[in-house]
Assembly symmetry: C2
Homo-oligomer: 263 residues x 2
């Protein structure tokens, strides 16, 4: 009796593994009305909305693993999640899920990947954008941050140059950041002027809590003449938060793209 | 006794006229949470918010006259209003009012103008923009309209060319439009591709209710191959609404700029 039960379980697992598909999904959302990406009690999150829609679609409890825990108010154009689905045709997931999801979160693409793909742990690098504007622009007040003072582009570029490479970024993250190491490598650190906007771009092998918002705040404090490049260098050398610039608000920040290791 | 009362009133009017200043104000707003520009009962409007803030600032009931009655969901970057203020320094109005206004409506500029300037009746021409995107983009879903089908830019340009000049636009406005004449003159009617966006621009001596949204809907129906240029020509000749294209949703529409007659 026991042996036949074991055999049944074995067969079930085999069948499940044959049917089981790991799905990598790129999603985009407006962070304005979310308490952030990661599920939490008594507060609306992106993960919760995704899992609710997926569980409804697949008639079973589904958990998703996301690459990045974006904060409240932070937008995503290319957040990546993975989950497992048993038998449902993957090519139908995008449209089916989009009809179940609320307006402020949508699936950009969904595809089958290798069963050991992990949206969180296989990340090679990430790109974030931050947008500031010098125009009082109410229709876009949740999409970019208004800055009333003039900014010197060259000074900001000098500051952004300092961030490139491997550094201890302890001075450039929230004191609440729970990490083993503060070392990160920044490959791209730049700003471009587009009309009345400055668009910042950062690509790194990882970011800590509030890191992009502090990098931008530091470049802006330098660009307005409030902070010296020497102070920024000190922040990088000593890890002192107060030597770096202010933390910018979340609404100008976009998780743009996640790059994965080639395997 | 009667004569001295008359004299007093005369002096008061003279003093009032000396102190009275007409102010022309450019304002910008996010139309998403408004029932439109014009004051109405039991529904939040831009005019109501402006008049509430102005009345608070100036300690007296103030009425504003706006150039355009934008619909619910329609944004403005350059709506113009006028009002009269008695003695308050005009150069302080912008900042003082912005501190009293809600986040979704702000003053861009305020300046003293001639006492007979009228924001509504002195309009020479207006410019509207409409933005559509081919990307599912939740952070910008209230700032542009998502179009899932491919659009032929050349075909749209051919269609937009037909709108230029003086025409009877009866076929291109809401049946609820209350106007004496349906004739309008369109000076600019164009579309430009910017990445995954199409940005439409229209400049005319006036627009009727829903007119820009129907002009864009018509160009889009032509651009996707659903409507022929002949049908558009017929709509212009006969004034038949059903020969023109669909009415686009309000959220991609921006009142960009109002031009006034030189006097």
């Amino acid at each position: 009796m026991k042996k036949s039960k074991e055999m049944l379980c074995f067969i079930q697992r085999k069948v499940y593994n044959l049917l089981m598909q790991r799905v990598k999904m790129v999603i985009s959302y407006d962070g304005s009305d979310f308490c952030g990406y990661q599920r939490q009690k008594n507060c609306r999150t992106v993960q919760e909305e995704l899992e609710r829609a997926l569980s409804k679609l697949l008639c079973t409890q589904v958990s998703v693993v996301g690459s990045s825990r974006t904060d409240a108010g932070v937008h995503a154009l290319g957040q990546v999640v993975h989950f497992d689905v048993d038998g449902f045709p993957v090519e139908r997931i995008k449209d089916a899920l989009n009809s179940l999801l609320p307006e402020d979160v949508k699936v950009v693409s969904a595809k089958k990947v290798k069963s050991d793909f992990n949206a969180r742990f296989d990340v090679q690098k990430k790109t974030y954008n931050y947008v500031v504007t010098s125009s009082l622009n109410p229709p876009f007040r949740k999409q970019m941050t208004y800055v009333s003072y003039p900014l010197d582009e060259d000074k900001m570029l000098e500051c952004l140059e300092l961030f490139k490479g491997k550094h201890n970024f302890k001075g450039f993250c929230s004191s609440a950041a729970q990490v083993k190491s503060f070392e990160r490598e920044i490959m791209i650190s730049q700003v471009k002027k587009r009309g009345d906007k400055f668009i910042f771009t950062f690509t790194a092998n990882g970011f800590m809590q509030h890191m992009v918002r502090i990098l931008v705040g530091t470049a802006i404090d330098v660009g307005r003449g409030k902070l010296s490049l020497d102070s920024v260098k000190e922040a990088l050398e000593t890890g002192e938060r107060k030597k770096a610039g202010k933390t910018m608000p979340p609404q100008g920040l976009y998780l743009k793209r996640i790059y994965y290791k080639q395997r």
